[in-house]
């Protein structure tokens, strides 16, 4: 079996990529996907640790994270759609009227 450090390292990379997505992309949907990627990185971590501790707590946590993610997606996409209705774009930079 591969030792756990590898998994942690991998999840770290994925997490970073996710953050990069959030920080660099202007497409709201892609930003959102990147966030999902971050969550996944965390999940990977949980599962790995669960395996390490041989306790199911971690896996359960992942389960809940998924549901949360689902909920967020529902809301998030709804919002994006709504914004698109008014602005005709999902370019997040367009949503910058509130400032100061």
């Amino acid at each position: 079996m591969v030792s756990i450090e590898y998994y942690i390292g991998l999840s770290a990379i994925l997490f970073i990529i996710g953050t990069m997505g959030v920080l660099t992309r202007r497409n709201a949907i892609i930003i959102f996907m990147s966030i999902e990627l971050m969550l996944n990185a965390a999940n990977l971590l949980f599962v790995a640790f669960a395996r390490m501790f041989e306790a199911l707590g971690g896996q359960i946590f992942v389960f809940f994270v998924m549901t949360v993610a689902a909920a967020e997606v529902a809301v998030g996409l709804a919002l994006i759609v709504a914004v698109f209705r008014t602005k005709q774009t999902i370019n997040i930079d367009e949503a910058s009227t509130l400032k100061g």
Binding site: A42, F49, A82
Partner: protein, 481 residues
């Protein structure tokens, strides 16, 4: 379903009630055409929940296999949150009609997020903390974007959502690291494991990430940037609600989690916390100075208040002190809640459709035209600025006291200077109200006036009642230490 009894439900009756009531409201909303009924029912429900909470005073127990703790601390928070819920419903009462988006879901969602806040106050497990956080936030995302076809509102919602989710990712990763370091998500288990863990740094990083995530919720610099925009874009009653409940929930979780689970890392975190406090106080206050829009101004001021509360939080690790710290934070939150709702009520009274009536100029001449309203606004502003004899002063006083007890004289000095700066921009509003001539349009609505009056009187009166409140707050320390 083994190992659970009805006791578990009874112990968290207020929460259960709120949630069930929310479901009921959903049905009512679905099957009646009568507008405003949901609102009244929601208010009734909150009152009932409040009553239940009061009936629970003195209870100290856990529920659902240590997932939740019910103690004085959580009960205090329940009261605070439920009360805030009532106030924000009162603010919404005419506002939503006036603005034309009266919809029952509004109140249902609010009830859900109230339940979330209450859960945060008594969460004893990081899973619950995480879920409660989401339950608190997701309705808020929607409420912020509640105004139909309103670009600003939707933008606010989207911003809040994306950033919230982003921050949530960090929280989650932090929890994961902590789980990795201790193999547990239960606070008690964590604190016992923390002493023996072989990877303390992992724990520390995890704690830091949680701190950041919750710091985002309570709007601590540099995680505060969403605040002004969202506060401005969201419907004012929602803003008021966010300003108080999101903060209360966030701090409730912060205090419980860190005091219960991470006393070991407190020393390492002190510099970080101090830095956050100073940044928050400086930037929050100074930024407020240049605001023309009153909602943004209050947004920044609420940021600075978060900074003040954080000041007490710095000392959380000192075993002999955390009690005082908690007490002063609770008192401050109460003061902030009362004052803040009062001021928002005034804002609502002056707000016109399409976000008009929200600039400082619109307050010109208020003192002449509506002395009562202006006077109460004055009281709120003074309380924000921490001028006696107001609740705000009491809050700051006890806060600084705790900080000094902890030996952080530097922080205290920054704090007092910050409150001095804050006086400056609060005074600007006063100047507009009293020293400028103008003809402000004011909605005089019974409920609104009632809220204003109650909060204004409360802001003054409760200061003189500091004794009982402090006593109550002091009894409301966390049971599980």
């Amino acid at each position: 379903m083994s190992g659970y009894t009805i006791e578990d439900l009874v112990n968290i009756l207020p929460i259960v009630f709120v949630v069930v009531w929310a479901l009921a409201l959903l049905m009512v909303e679905a099957f009646t055409k009568r507008r405003g009924l949901t609102l009244v029912l929601a208010a009734v429900g909150l009152l009932a929940a409040l009553f239940l909470t009061v009936s629970q005073f003195g209870v100290e127990t856990t529920a659902f296999k240590n997932m939740l703790t019910v103690d004085g601390y959580s009960l205090f928070m329940y009261v605070l949150v439920l009360g805030s819920g009532l106030f924000s419903i009162a603010l919404a009462y005419d506002y939503n009609k006036r603005m034309g988006w009266e919809r029952g879901e509004y109140y249902v969602l609010m009830l859900f997020s109230i339940a979330g806040a209450m859960l945060m106050a008594s969460a004893a497990n990081l899973i619950v903390v995480f879920l409660a956080l989401e339950l608190l936030s997701i309705p808020l995302y929607i409420l912020a974007a509640f105004v139909p076809n309103d670009a600003a509102s939707e933008e606010a919602g989207l911003k809040y959502f994306l950033l919230g989710a982003f921050a949530g990712g960090f929280v989650l990763y932090g929890v994961a690291l902590i789980y990795g370091a201790t193999g547990a998500t239960d606070l008690m288990a964590i604190v016992s494991a923390a002493s023996t863990t072989e990877s303390p740094l992992l724990l520390l990083i995890g704690a830091a990430l949680i701190l950041i995530g919750l710091g985002f919720k309570v709007a601590v610099v540099p995680f505060h940037m969403w605040t002004p925009d969202v506060y401005q874009g969201a419907p004012t009653p929602v803003t008021a609600y966010m300003a108080v409940v999101a903060k209360a929930g966030g701090f409730a979780a912060l205090l419980r989690v860190f005091i219960a689970a991470f006393p070991s890392v407190s020393q390492d975190l002190v510099p970080v916390l101090s830095a956050l406090v100073i940044l928050t106080l400086v930037i929050g206050n100074l930024a407020a100075l240049a605001q023309k829009n009153i909602k943004r101004m209050f947004a920044y001021s609420s940021i600075s208040h978060a900074g003040f509360i954080m000041m007490a939080f710095v000392t959380y690790g000192q075993a002999d002190l955390y009690a005082d710290a908690v007490t002063s934070v609770l008192f401050y939150l109460l003061a902030f809640a009362v004052t803040s709702f009062g001021s928002w009520a005034v804002v609502v009274a002056l707000e016109q459709a399409e976000g008009k009536g929200l600039n400082l100029e619109d307050y010109a001449g208020l003192g002449k035209k509506h002395p009562a309203l202006a006077l109460s606004m004055l009281v709120f502003l003074l309380s924000f600025a921490g001028v006696p004899p107001t609740l705000g002063f009491g809050g700051k006083f006890f806060l600084f006291r705790t900080v000094l007890e902890g030996g952080y004289v530097g922080l205290a000095i920054v704090g007092v200077l910050a409150s001095l700066v804050s006086a400056y921009y609060y005074l600007r509003v006063v100047i507009y109200m009293y020293f400028h001539d103008g003809d402000p349009e004011v909605r005089s609505e019974p409920v609104l006036n009632f809220v204003t009056a109650v909060t204004a009187v409360g802001t003054l009166f409760l200061f003189f009642m500091s004794g009982p409140i402090l006593k109550w707050a002091a009894e409301s320390i966390l049971a599980l230490i």
